[in-house]
Symmetry: C2
Subunit: 448 residues, 2 copies
């Protein structure tokens, strides 16, 4: 029997039907929702109609989007039909839970068509409109689109902008916004100028309400998130896991150096430091001249009965558990302790709060940092527990519209490696599985 | 340094300014918010202007609320002024965090006055309007008011209803709803017909967004929540805490009897069973013919290094901890384990989900059940960890507009008492502190 947490308690299948003119951040929102739900182990997928349309019309000009262009209309009809067919197959064949239909869905007629198909297939439709009349926001989005959309690859930026504005104008002629009175029987959310105003209608299921709450918390102000493990601890030196030990002399050196590293990376930006409740993260933060908050949710994965043991001792004392953990590290729950999945669930409010906040520096622990990093970098569950995140390294994340940029800053203070590869009880060794991971590179130069 | 969780991360002070005609559930919402935040240790208080007004006009008739009645208007002005003065003093003197100003606040002029006062005192105002045009809902609320409001104590129900409708009509003449365009610079939430539609404007802080999410999840459909501890376990017999043991023979008897107890209490209602991930709750639920879900968040308070010990062993091994726990049981965190506060934080999503759901039976553990019960019954933190909740007893909660009704159903299957009073390591003994608690009565007849 599965263990329920922030999850699909009601066994529903949901189609989030995006609604909005071009350059309203629909794809940004769609991708964020998929990333968030996937991280929570809720099977979700985005069906981007633009990608289907590009198969028939790779790089159309604005007139293609004129509602009176009949030939183009057929290609666009075909694209949306294909996307919806694939979506329905995905629900049926792959037990999908949340699909996002990422398209303008700009007319009531189109939306009614999607609605009918959803209802016929026992899928709950939730319309999510991004509506925007803030010109600065729109222009910023257009700048993003013209540099990132395959439609404008290699096109002169000014030409692309002019064409794109014309495309938007073509959509505007037929666009019908969701209407509080006329659409009162639908489940819908209207985001007005990002989340300056939000209108929520008939959102009745748990999972839908989670999605809505998440979307409400998104912002697009530029900011950084820094991640660091605590400095090397006494337990690290002794190869023990868990516990609540102090920093080693080298760990204290890292704590001393950290303010300088942060200042170099952050400049004059103000930021807030989040630590766990454990001594080693607080000692690491002790010289940082910023506001500090402690979060219990940032405490290290609880190793239960294995807390305070070395991997060798665990292998000796609980050989079957040791093997079981290697075989499915994400799901394995230490006796009396936690699994990676458990950690993800308790980190959910942290992620929500991170989405709301601006500059944050998080000083935490190996497993917790893996989970947070996995969220921002979309690392799959099979890989995230095996990522190597070295000590004495400051990681800077810069969330952007379609990806998160990573910078790694090494403190040049030696530390033991606490990385344990699959199938060994030795720390500090990498193994071939780990090397294969695309995400292993964040410490490729720190291995011994 | 405090440990942050679902909390007031930004150190704000918030005034939730209720807006709405009479009989729109404003007091219901206000009380729910205060109960929820208090349970999360966020200091909050409701200032009900009606209570202040009753000091000058204990039982006025409808004409008192006619906007042209100048003398009455003065009394009403005085009441709201007094309420606001008290509220400001509470913020200043008692470090209040969230105040609810529970009044109609029906005109823009009145709201601007509150807004100005808040801003002058560095308090963030959030307007929360309950707007309703669903006559059934209004009539149900009127029925509640005329039976519960001190204004109509002892008045014939029909007379009370007629007078109350007239009072509403008087308010309607001057009522100005919050307006998406005109009030766009305010932080506000409009709840339309409970939460059928919700409009959220400029909600920017974490704590405000938590309040909004909570309010969105409230419903008023009648339903029951049943709570039960697992049946007596092997560890219970051995006086050990924690662990993951199976049920004792008497515990299994309770599991066998439970379907009958539930059926007698629930009738033909459908319900869902929630258990923890521990064996003893699942064994207790094994004969229940309903859908079952397991929640990690319902696992027992983690006793860390003391897991599997008896209280006597704990007292012997960690005498200082044993004493510290008795002195502040809510805050005491077992070494490597949890405090009651930690349990409340991880139960927060459970409470949120309980607010959304209809009939639910929760089979869980002593400390967890205390926390859930404390939420519904508004038990203060000093008392909740000392409540005695006996084994082999089904508790039925019936949430109503202004209180939760409790029914206790004993299974008549003997079990050990696991209750440990303050200052003793013996279980099964009550002490004088505990007897004093108003909430101890839920098992007053089960003590040995």
């Amino acid at each position: 029997m599965p263990v329920y947490t922030v999850s699909n308690v009601q066994n529903l299948r949901i189609c989030v039907v995006m609604v909005g003119l071009p350059a309203r951040g629909k794809s940004f929102i769609s991708q964020k929702i998929v990333r968030y739900l996937s991280w929570l182990s809720i099977k979700s997928k985005c069906f981007n109609v633009g990608n289907y349309r590009r198969q028939g019309a790779p790089r159309p000009s604005a007139e293609f989007f004129d509602a009176s262009n009949e030939e183009a209309y057929k290609i666009r009809e075909h694209a949306v039909t294909q996307a919806v067919i694939d979506m329905m197959n995905w629900f049926a064949d792959e037990q999908g839970v949340v699909a996002i239909l990422d398209a303008t869905n700009s007319t009531r007629q189109r939306r009614n068509w999607v609605l009918k198909l959803c209802r016929e297939n026992s899928i709950e439709p939730m319309f999510l409109e991004s509506w925007c009349d803030d010109n600065d926001l729109i222009l910023r989005n257009i700048a993003d689109v013209k540099t990132s959309s395959p439609d404008y690859k290699g096109v002169d930026p000014d030409v692309a902008t002019a064409d794109f504005l014309e495309r938007i104008a073509n959509y505007e002629q037929v666009y019908q916004a969701l209407d509080e009175a006329q659409d009162r029987d639908l489940t819908f959310v209207r985001l007005i100028n990002i989340a300056q105003q939000v209108i929520i209608n008939k959102v009745e299921t748990y999972l839908e309400s989670r999605i809505v709450f998440y979307v409400m918390n998104l912002h697009i102000k530029p900011r950084y998130i820094w991640l660091s493990r605590h400095g090397e601890s006494i337990y690290n030196l002794e190869k023990k896991i868990g516990g609540d030990s102090s920093l080693s002399p080298r760990g204290l050196q890292y704590a001393k150096k950290l303010p300088e590293l942060v200042r170099e990376s952050a400049g004059n930006r103000d930021l807030t430091v989040w630590t766990s409740t454990l001594i080693r993260t607080q000692e690491t933060a002790q010289d940082l001249p910023y506001k500090q908050l402690q979060w219990k949710a940032l405490d290290e994965l609880d190793a239960g009965v294995c807390d305070g043991m070395t991997y060798e001792e665990i292998e000796e004392t609980f050989p079957e558990d040791f093997k079981a953990r290697d075989e499915d590290k994400y799901e394995y729950r230490y006796r009396g302790g936690e699994s990676y999945r458990d950690v993800v669930i308790r980190l959910e409010p942290i992620i929500m709060e991170l989405e709301r906040q601006e500059n944050i520096l998080i000083i935490t622990h190996q497993a917790v940092l893996r989970c947070i990093y996995a969220y921002f970098m979309n690392v799959p569950q099979e890989e995230s527990p095996w990522m190597s995140i070295p000590l004495h390294t400051l990681i800077r994340l810069e969330p952007r519209a379609y990806a998160t940029h990573v910078t790694k800053i090494k403190a040049d203070i030696p530390a033991v490696s606490t990385y344990k590869g699959k199938g060994t009880s030795q720390v500090g060794e990498s193994d071939s599985n780990q090397r294969k991971s695309a995400h292993a590179l964040i410490d490729s130069d720190s291995k011994k």
